[in-house]
Subunit: 363 residues, 2 copies
C-alpha cells in the first residue's frame, strides 16, 4: 500500500509535461514500469485479450489499481478501432422520455467503460444527415442510438447504411425489420388497454390518434380497432380524433369528442400528453373522472402520477430499451446480422379509468 503510494508520487514528479492545473495523469507506461512488463502487455490485460498468463495478468491488475490508472479515451480512440463513445440522437419534445432513455443507456455505458454523447437533431432540417455524418467523423462514435422520430428518417437511415455505421433504432414505426431494433409491441399494448376499458363496461369508446409520422401511432390505433372488433363493438369514426402527441392537440381532441351530447364514456389517447389534454378539457367542461368519463394514456410519463385523478396508462420499459440498445452496440451485436428485441410492456391502472356510467341512471 504505502509502497505503491510512493510510486505514484514519484511517477507524478518524474513526468515533466503535466499541464499543471489538470488531474494527475498516470499513463500506461507508468503501469508497465510498475508491473515490470511492456506496455503492450498492459494493453492486453486491460482489453481482456487472450494469451496472457495468469501471473502477469494479476501483476498488471495490481499495478493499475495501485496507481489508479484510467486509460485515456482519446488515445484509445486514435490508436485503435473503438472510441468508447456512443451517441444518443434525438429530436423529441418529451423530456421525461429522453431522460429515461439516457438513464438506461448510461447505466450500460458506465458498466462497459463507455461514455454517452447526446446530440439533439432537428428532423425537419434538410441537413440532418450531414450533421450526423459530421458528428460521426469528429468523434468516431462506436454506435448510434436513434430514437423516434429520428429512427424513421429515411435520409438518416440511408446515410448510416451506406457508411456501415453501427446503430440501433428504438421504437421505430416503419421498416421495423430494417437495422437493429428495440421496441415493444405497440399494437398488443393498445389492444390490452382497450380490452381493459371494455371489461369496465365501456361500449362507447373514443380514440385520439398520435402523430402520423410516428409509426407507433398507427400500431396503437390498429390495436384499439382490433380489441373493439373482437368485442363486437362498433367504432364510430367521429369518435376517433386526430392528435399530435402534444398536450394542446389533446385539448383540441377533447373539445371535439366531449363538447357534444353524444359523447363517449371512455377515451383512449395515443400517449399521456394527449390524454392529459383530454383530461384538462374534461375538467373545463365540468366532467368528473372517472365518474363521467374514463381516460387512458400511453407512456407512463411522470406527470401521469401527478395529475388528479392519476392517469391509467401503458408503461414502456424505456430505460431498459435504451440499455439494451447500448448493450447491442457495445457487444457489437449490430455488426453481422441485425437483431430485433421485443420488450415487455405493462398496463398501469390508476384513478382516471373506472366502471362505465350506467346510461339509465344518468342524464
Amino acid at each position: 500500500m504505502s509502497a505503491s503510494r510512493t510510486d505514484l508520487q514519484r511517477v507524478r514528479k518524474a513526468s515533466p509535461k503535466r499541464t499543471g492545473a489538470r488531474v494527475a495523469n498516470v499513463t500506461i507506461v507508468d503501469v508497465a514500469h510498475a508491473a515490470g512488463v511492456s506496455i503492450k502487455t498492459v494493453s492486453r490485460v486491460l482489453n481482456r485479450e487472450p494469451n496472457v498468463s495468469t501471473a502477469t495478468r494479476e501483476q498488471v491488475m495490481a499495478a493499475a489499481a495501485a496507481l489508479h490508472y484510467t486509460p485515456n479515451v482519446s488515445a484509445r480512440s486514435l490508436a485503435g478501432s473503438r472510441s468508447y463513445l456512443i451517441a444518443l440522437l434525438y429530436d423529441n419534445p418529451n423530456a421525461a422520455y429522453i431522460a429515461d432513455l439516457q438513464t438506461g443507456a448510461l447505466s450500460r455505458c458506465r458498466a462497459g467503460g463507455y461514455h454517452l454523447i447526446i446530440e439533439p437533431f432537428d428532423t425537419t432540417a434538410a441537413d440532418a444527415p450531414d450533421a450526423i455524418a459530421d458528428m460521426m467523423s469528429k468523434l468516431r462514435t462506436d454506435g448510434l442510438i436513434l430514437t423516434p422520430p429520428l429512427c424513421d428518417h429515411p435520409g438518416v437511415l440511408e446515410l448510416l447504411d451506406t457508411t456501415g455505421a453501427a446503430y440501433v433504432r428504438i421504437a421505430p414505426s416503419n421498416r421495423v425489420d430494417h437495422g437493429s431494433v428495440v421496441r415493444i409491441d405497440d399494437m398488443a399494448a393498445a389492444r390490452e388497454m382497450t380490452r381493459l376499458l371494455i371489461a369496465d363496461g365501456h361500449r362507447d369508446i373514443g380514440f385520439v390518434k398520435g402523430h402520423p409520422d410516428h409509426g407507433a401511432s398507427h400500431q396503437r390505433l390498429a390495436g384499439f380497432l382490433a380489441a373493439m372488433t373482437e368485442a363486437g363493438l362498433t367504432v364510430r369514426p367521429d369518435w376517433i380524433a386526430e392528435g399530435l402527441f402534444s398536450f394542446l392537440s389533446g385539448v383540441a381532441a377533447g373539445t371535439r369528442l366531449l363538447d357534444r351530447n353524444d359523447r363517449p364514456t371512455a377515451i383512449f389517447a395515443c400517449n399521456d400528453d394527449t390524454a392529459l389534454g383530454v383530461m384538462s378539457e374534461a375538467n373545463r367542461l365540468g366532467l368528473v373522472m372517472p365518474r363521467d368519463l374514463s381516460v387512458a394514456g400511453f407512456d407512463d410519463t411522470p406527470t401521469a402520477r401527478v395529475v388528479w385523478p392519476q392517469l391509467t396508462t401503458v408503461r414502456q420499459p424505456v430505460a431498459d430499451m435504451a440499455a439494451m440498445a447500448a448493450d447491442m452496440i457495445i457487444e457489437g451485436r449490430t455488426e453481422d446480422e441485425a437483431e430485433s428485441q421485443l420488450m415487455a410492456f405493462e398496463i398501469i391502472v390508476r384513478g382516471s379509468t373506472g366502471p362505465a356510467p350506467r346510461a339509465a341512471l344518468r342524464d
Copy 2:
C-alpha cells in the same frame, strides 16, 4: 468544384487503412495537400491562430470545405490541451430540469464545436469524487457543469479545486462566492411571488419548504418571510410545512396545512412538484382552486401547464443558465478569476392563484 471532387475521390482511394465500414475520413493531411500548404498551416487556420496571411487562410478554408473536412476530436485532444468535451454532471430526479439544462448547454457546445458528455452521479455515494476524477482523467474534459445538489457537494468541490479543473456551478446554495457560478436571485423571486399573493388579498399564506440540502430552499423561505414582514403580516409557524421538493412531500404538506379548520387561503410551495402535491391533496379534500385555495410553485416545469388549474410559478431560465455555463467554460472564463452570473427570473401567473376568498361570505 469538380476538380476538388476528383481530389476527394483520389484521396479516399489512396489512403489504404480505412476501416471499411466507417465514414470516410478526410484528414488534415488531405486538406494541406489540396491547399498546397503544410499541415501546420491548416491547423493554424482551423484554430484561428494569428499570423496567417489572408490568402493562405482562404485557400485552406476552401480546401477544407470542398473536402468536407472535420477535425478528429480524439487526435486534437491527444495532441493539444483541449478536448472539446464538456461534462454535465447531475444527480437530480427532475427530468425536465435536466433536459432544459442539456438543451441550453448543447446549443452553446454545438456553436463552439464542443460536445457534451452527460454523467449522472449519486451524490450520496462516498466515492462520488473518485468517480468524477476517474471520468476526468479518462476523457480529459475541458470543463464541468455542476447542477444542484452536486454543485454543493463538499468533496466534489474540494477535488475540483485541488486538481484545478474548470467548472461552473449552476444554482448553488451555499458558498455562492466559491468558483464560477450561474444562478438566479432565489430570495428576490420568492419575495415577488409572495407579494403577488398578498396583492391578491391573501393574508393567511402557508409555505412549504424545499429540500434542506438545497440552498435555494433557504433563500426562497427568506424571500417569503421578507415579503410577509414588509406587508405587516404575521407568519404562523404551523403554516410552514417541511418539504423535500417531491410530489409526495407536497401531498404530506398539503394534508398538514389543509386538513383542518383554520387553513391558509394561499400556499406557496418551494417548487412545482411540491405545489402539485399540495394541489392533489386539495383536490382530494374537495377544495376548488383558486376559489377556495391559491397555490403557487417555483420552477415552471412542463407539468405546471398541464394540470388543472394551471400552476402559477416562477420561471428560471434554466436553458440559458446552462448555455451561460458552457460559454464560460469554452471561453476559458473560469480560469483566472471566478465569475458569477445572476440571471433574470420571471413570475408566471396562471389559474391556480386568484383573489382571496372573502372570509365573511364563506364558512
